[in-house]
Amino acid sequence: MRRSILWRKSVNIAMIGATGLCATVTVAALVLILGYLAWKGAHYLTWTFLTQLPAPVGEPGGGMGNAIVGSGKMLLLAAVTGIPVGLMTGIYLAEFGGRTVSFTVRYAADLLNGVPSIVTGIFIYTVVVLTMGNFSALAGGLALGIMMIPIVVRSTEDIILAVPGNMLEGALALGVSKWRGVATVVLPAARRGIMTGILLSLARVAGETAPLLFTSFNNQYWSRGWDSPIASLPVVIYTYAVSPYKSWHDQAWAAGFVLLALVLLINIAARAVLSRGQPAQRG
């Protein structure tokens, strides 16, 4: 039975509309959240706020300078540990994997993703903090790095597998060895998707509080080196948000805004550097 053209065209329009609605709802959610943060905390966003150390409650001035730097440092460490592991594993699963090993590793990565962040924090606490004898930025960065890995693995593997097989086959037919083929043909083709996965995982760990409570602790002052406690935006947000003082609540909202701005900056910078500068193309 042939469906009438009119019916098919109507379904077409309807579904385009429906999916558009889905996209709109999701985008609207973020815009609302950003708007709320801006509205609540905007008047705190001064240069002082971004560069000074925190002041005790009730006293004017004070800022989150140390928390911003702290978050930056730990995200750097997380990226350095999480990205290579995740990337390499994703490549392994997609290109080299044997059946059982692949299955087990994939499962393990999924499990790792499902661990509550506080449990990851406690794990790093027992393995790193207790061994070192003190809280540190190192421990915090490692905890965040571990949390990044599963997302990078999954998205890398999925994207590489989605690259058409004939691209690699063409390279192999020209006599290139497999690893060269993957490195010079497949990975560049998958570059945008891999970047998405990495940035997504970075965004996710940027906002995590629980794992940092037991690893990087907190610090009211500037911290030096990697082996002392360090402040971070999510921990400060959490501490201020659950306090009784309205001025601290406002600062928490402002800090949330700063955190999102930080992630946005990293996003923009990474894409600008690594993409070909063209909008997403199909196929």
Binding site: P54, F135, R224, D227, P229, P244
Partner: protein, 357 residues
């Protein structure tokens, strides 16, 4: 290969920022967290624990630092249990807890540990009844009955009797309690255990308990948020929180028969009237304290200090801080809505300081 200007710019910027961050992390440590401090360099001490007391420590450590620029006290609010655990593990120098440590817990520590009450807090009953804007009077039995699930309506006789002249609606009471472990829960349950034998056997007192009824809110802000949003609800929250946010809360009848509203003064009174008990054991509970002006649901928050501190610089800094805290520090509490220690307590604690060696 032609590289666009914008890409070069972003590369340069990223490298510059990374360089800045890395240089800020150079390991030429003024970080002496392991503690030696020759004169002139900064001494860093770490404290952790109670989220409730965080504003106090934040203010004190900052003020102390202004007067002693080469001493830095660092604080992280990871919860009283966390503070105790970190002190036991030796990863922090001082712990902060809203609860006292019983002998069993103390035995798990390597050396002797002293508990210094530093300030007072209280748990107050906050509620949201459309149409009622006055402070309701709560008898101990009313509170126990509500939290046991026995008193279910606002116009129950127990509440009506204590509040003649207030029109209480015929609505179910929606009970709210803390979901996270907290010292506030502990003193609330400690009080209920003292005035209600049924509560004592059925539920008991701890930072977390098996609540017979009610919704759990996370943190003071969770409980208050729920109460503010839910008509006909009742919850308990820290006095500090309620004062700072201008909340409506009720009065509670104390053991002398007076309905006392929790204020900084009535809370300090609860400690003052109990000084003799505290002299014997600093861990004595002051809920349902005798004294006609005492607020019955009050308690201390404690600073936990190891009795033996090997590092001489840290030892001096901590002892000096404790003396400072008992004199100058106490004057700073009222502005942030914490109740100061009564003079009797200050004296008791001053005599404890020499025990630290």
């Amino acid at each position: 290969m032609k590289i666009q200007k914008s890409r070069m710019l972003v590369w340069a910027l990223s490298i510059a920022i990374a360089g800045l961050i890395l240089s800020a992390s150079s390991s030429k440590s003024a970080n002496l967290s392991s503690g030696e401090s020759p004169a002139g360099q900064t001494l860093l001490l770490n404290a952790a624990g109670s989220t409730f007391a965080y504003p106090v420590y934040s203010k004190w450590f900052n003020s102390y630092h202004q007067e002693h620029p080469n001493v830095e006290f660092n604080y992280a609010s990871i919860g009283s249990g966390g503070g105790i655990a970190q002190l036991r593990a030796g990863t922090v120098d001082l712990g902060a807890s809203d609860m006292t440590m019983n002998d069993k817990l103390l035995a798990t520590f390597k050396g002797k540990t002293l508990q210094f009450p530093i300030a007072l807090g209280a748990a107050v009953p906050a509620y949201n009844i459309p149409g009622v804007n006055v402070a309701l009077k709560f008898t101990p039995q009313a509170l126990a009955g509500i939290y046991l699930g026995k008193i279910t309506k606002w116009n129950d006789s127990e509440l009506a009797r204590a509040n003649p002249g207030v029109k209480l609606p015929n609505q179910k009471i929606i009970v709210v309690h803390r979901s996270d472990g907290s010292g506030t829960t502990f003193i609330w349950c400690d009080y209920l255990s003292k005035i209600s034998p049924e509560w004592k056997t059925k539920v008991g007192a701890n930072t977390s308990v098996n609540w017979p009824v009610g919704l759990g809110g996370k943190g003071n802000e969770g409980v208050v948020g729920l109460v503010e949003q839910t008509p006909y609800s009742l919850g308990y929250a820290e006095l500090t929180y309620c004062l700072q946010n201008n909340m409506l809360y009720g009065t509670v009848r104390n053991s002398s028969g007076n309905y006392i509203k929790a204020t900084l003064a009535s809370v300090t009174a609860a400690a003052a009237d109990n000084a003799s008990e505290l002299q014997k054991d600093i861990r004595a509970s002051i809920t349902n304290a005798p004294g006609k002006d005492s607020y019955p649901i009050s308690s201390f928050t404690y600073l936990l200090v190891p009795a033996s501190i090997p590092n001489a610089f840290k030892l001096d800094a901590i002892k000096d801080f404790l003396s400072w805290m008992l004199s100058e520090g106490q004057t700073q509490l009222q502005s942030i809505s914490f109740a100061p220690l009564p003079q009797a307590m200050v004296d008791i604690e001053k005599s404890m300081i020499p025990q630290i060696q």
